[in-house]
Amino acid sequence: METTVSIKNLCYSYDDKQVLNDVNLETVRGSVVAILGPNGAGKSTLFRLISGLLFPRSGELNLFGRDCRKLYKNRPFISGVCIDGAEPSPKEKVKTIVDLESGIIKDFDKSKFLAEMEKSDISAKQRYGELSKGQKRYLLSRLTLSGKRDLILLDEPGDGLDLKKRRELYDSIRDYANSHNATIIVATHIINDIERITDDVLILNKGKVSLHGELEDIREDYRIVRSYANSKIDTSQFEIIARSVTQDETTFLAKADYQTWQSLNLGMSIEIEPITLENLYLTITGETGEENE
């Protein structure tokens, strides 16, 4: 499988504030990659680095085997990106934005695209600045998914959209990755949407990678182990990846093989939970999740 993005020991700071600290990531063709993390975890900076809006200070960043410093030397890579800082001007008309893009995209059916936008109440005559946040994201995400590209970055593509539209959009992200053998990296807070379609998961926390892997492998080998009333746990049969402790509950993210989990019985006051993206995220980032309920 061909590597698309390869990041090694990447660090980045704004002035003296370090936002990315020793980040490693490797993506392959045909994969959807979910980047999750609390606000300020470094997701946007990572996207800006991958898309050439920023240059790495230290570490390696290769795209399709080429060093990004060389790749971006003569042309900024903004095609295929739907992120903050790479948006059209608010004065730009929707038609102009689509016209510009249609010059880059092969076999692009402009009138069909505009007709589809009309269905979401986005008219060709409107200016970009007049669109709602959700409409802006929708326009740019759909535009990004219209051409033939090898790498696409989407930052909160479902932001401001209703459930049905989000479903459609996420389905089309999956279809695009499959049919174009492309890598699509998606940063989002809406965990349920991305859980349905993603292959890889990268959890960023305070600029560091807390977890990176294929979701199928994580579902297979990882479990959340909870012990109430701080009962003693026999930890000899699994590896502890992360732990969080509160007054009356200890939670582990633990790893063992699938067969071990099937037969493991740790006792009455200890629960073994299968992995969902949500409990994985909450355990790793140490957030309680209560504020979301």
């Binding site: 045909g30 994969s31 959807v32 389905d171 999956r174 279809d175 990755a177 499959n178 349920n192 859980e195 349905r196 379609i197 292959d199 199928e216 579902r219 297979e220 019985n265 939970e273 299968p274 992995i275 969902t276 993206l277 949500e278």
Partner: protein, 129 residues
């Protein structure tokens, strides 16, 4: 072939596909010799990576539930292709021991296990889930 995935059950998707194909074979919804959907087609329908389908089909092949015919696709294996009577009996005995052990751990009696077993057999026969 009707497969329903549960994305937040924590069960790996490829395992869900394997279990459901096995169930469809057991219930007769997929008869021996019938063709399974193509890898690309099923990936598109289920909105998953084609690699996930490949993994499921590979394991189904290893478990002799399906056979792959070069250039033609994936087919449900004929029952006699599964294995000899001795091996078959051994496998069923092994599964039964595991079922009984787990049932005992949960505090279920053999009578209760047989009752549930009968109910589930009826369900499979009637194609219910």
């Amino acid at each position: 072939m009707h497969i329903r995935l549960n994305h937040n059950s924590g069960e790996p998707i490829y395992r869900q596909i394997i279990e459901q194909v096995k169930y469809l074979v057991a219930s007769g919804d997929l008869s021996p010799g019938s063709k399974l959907p193509s890898i690309r087609g099923l990936a598109e329908k289920l909105k998953v990576n084609p690699r996930t389908i490949v993994k499921a089909y590979d394991e189904l092949k290893a478990g002799q539930v399906v056979v792959m015919r070069q250039g033609q696709g994936v087919f449900v294996a004929e029952p006699e292709q599964f294995c000899s009577e001795t091996i078959r009996r051994e496998k069923i005995a092994d599964l039964s021991r595991r079922l009984l052990a787990e049932a005992a751990r949960l505090g279920a009696s053999t009578v209760e296990v047989l009752e549930i077993f009968k109910e589930e057999s009826e369900k499979i026969k009637s194609g219910d889930k």
